[in-house]
Amino acid sequence: MEGLLPELEVIRKDFPILERTLAGGMPLVYLDSANTSQKPQVVIDTMVDHLERHNANIARAMHQLGAESTEAFETARDKVAAFLGAPERDEVIFTKNASEALNLAATTLGLRGELQIGEGDEILITEMEHHSNIVPWQMLAERTGARLRWFGLTDDGRLDLSNVDELVNERTKVVSLTWVSNMLGTINPVADIARRAHSVGAIVMVDASQAAPQLPIDLAAMPVEERPDLLAFTGHKVVGPTGIGVLWGARAVLEALPPFLGGGEMIETVRMEGSTYAGIPHKFEAGTPPIVEAIGLGAAVEYLGHVGLDAVHLHEQTITAYALEGLQTVPGLTVLGPLDAASRGGAISFELEGVHPHDIAQVLDSRGVAVRAGHHCAKPAHARFGVQSSTRMSSYLYTTPGEIDALIEALHHTRSYFKVG
């Protein structure tokens, strides 16, 4: 099949979990990578090596282990900066996950400062956001009296831009949207929206949690009008560990935002009467950061860089196209979201008439096929399509066409198990 990663079998060997068998000796068919990705040996080994040989706290420690640990941690920041094509490495802030990065932005935009949002201002999001890009903005709106607005969705699962002129207006202070939907798979026109938002002076935040794993990103190469001001992604979806996420922000914006959490490492000086704060990135990294996790993430994005994000993207598109084709052979199955693989990411949510997603996932699991069932933390998008939950398959660089075949076959089996059709 053209478009697959040329060394797919070699790549699969990098991921120890793919050799696991499940109950009944079933091989694992892991199609839940949009939920969390599996980890290559190099990421695990890098973390183990750090813990066994170089573990120390960073920055504060002046001994050899401390110097090694600090060097490894800051090199991880360089690697993440390179992965994003960040204009400056100090613009990369380590958080615990994408959710914290989004909350950091939403919270500090509500605090006293140049960029403070208040009554009369508008916050603009979309109906296809992950809860982590909805709830923080609802909280911001509630705390500040600003109004939360959102782009609706078209029937085929894209942003409804028909009222963009009304939605993006001079009251709009921040626009936050996902680059790739974790439910519908839709790839959004972030450059266009950023351009419009910037023309009214709004800050643009992009949730790249689903984009970073599969799309090449080069922030420095984007025209500045189209470049987001803030961008979030999460380590565990880019073959990195849990416990680590990234907020990238343009220096000027990060400098204008007040600190988020207070504590060790984010200070310049502390007196009981008051404190002053460090510059970026440390200003936003209170306390001991996720050191071994950042180092693991560095190894992860380096691994993806070696495979090549273009190649990963092509692989995802190829698998997605093959999956969309296969799903069409299952009677009563409806895909939610765009149907052409070229304009979507590798997560495909669907309904199967007569069988609830939980029950589908359960039968699939009995055959070793791991998918996600539920609302995928995107309740509003589900509500928009009048469904309460759905089943989602999501592939990644280690997914084979054979695994898609196994999914399709298991779906046929599900129908017969539940005696539908």
């Binding site: 609830h356 939980h358 359960q362 039968v363 699991d365 539920g374 589900h382 309460q388 198990y417």
Partner: protein
């Protein structure tokens, strides 16, 4: 899990209740109504209780969810309606014990009747919540109904 486990989970009784749920629909009169959600998957139930003279006169419900959660609401209706409040509470407790028993609790068919089919569910932690959704809603609604009665 294996194909056998799957069959243990989806007993015929469960699938029957799922396809033909007993007592579904919201009815009057009722003293309390609650809405419960399983945050993990979004399954929902709206449930009403009607109590009179220490007895469960009716349990009516509207629900959206998987076979396990639907069947368990249906079984709840069969088991609790018509019972004295004390008996209903005891049955509720037995069902809870069964579901939280990780598959190690032997259910008493005389008490739990069709609900013994849920013994297989107890082995699947992710599905225990589904099975308990309407039972938790019932307990909540009943507590509210009793409190409401006392306040009058």
């Amino acid at each position: 899990m294996t194909a056998q486990d799957l069959d243990a989970l989806y007993q015929e009784i469960i699938l029957d209740h799922y396809k033909n749920p007993h007592g579904k629909g919201l009815r009057e009169p009722h003293e309390a109504e609650v809405h419960h959600v399983n945050p993990t998957c979004g399954d929902e139930v709206t449930l009403r209780v009607h109590l009179a003279e220490g007895r469960v006169e009716d349990v009516s419900y509207d629900s959206l969810g998987c076979s396990i959660s639907q069947a368990s609401a249906s079984v709840l209706h069969d088991l609790l309606v018509g019972k004295s409040l004390d008996d209903a509470m005891a049955i509720h407790q037995d069902f809870l014990t069964l579901m939280q028993g990780k598959g190690l609790v032997e259910p008493d068919e005389d008490v739990l009747e069709d609900a013994i089919a849920f013994a297989g569910v107890a082995k699947f932690p992710a599905r225990v919540k589904c099975a308990l959704l309407s039972w938790m809603a019932w307990k909540d609604a009943t507590a509210q109904a009793i409190a409401g009665g006392e306040n009058q």
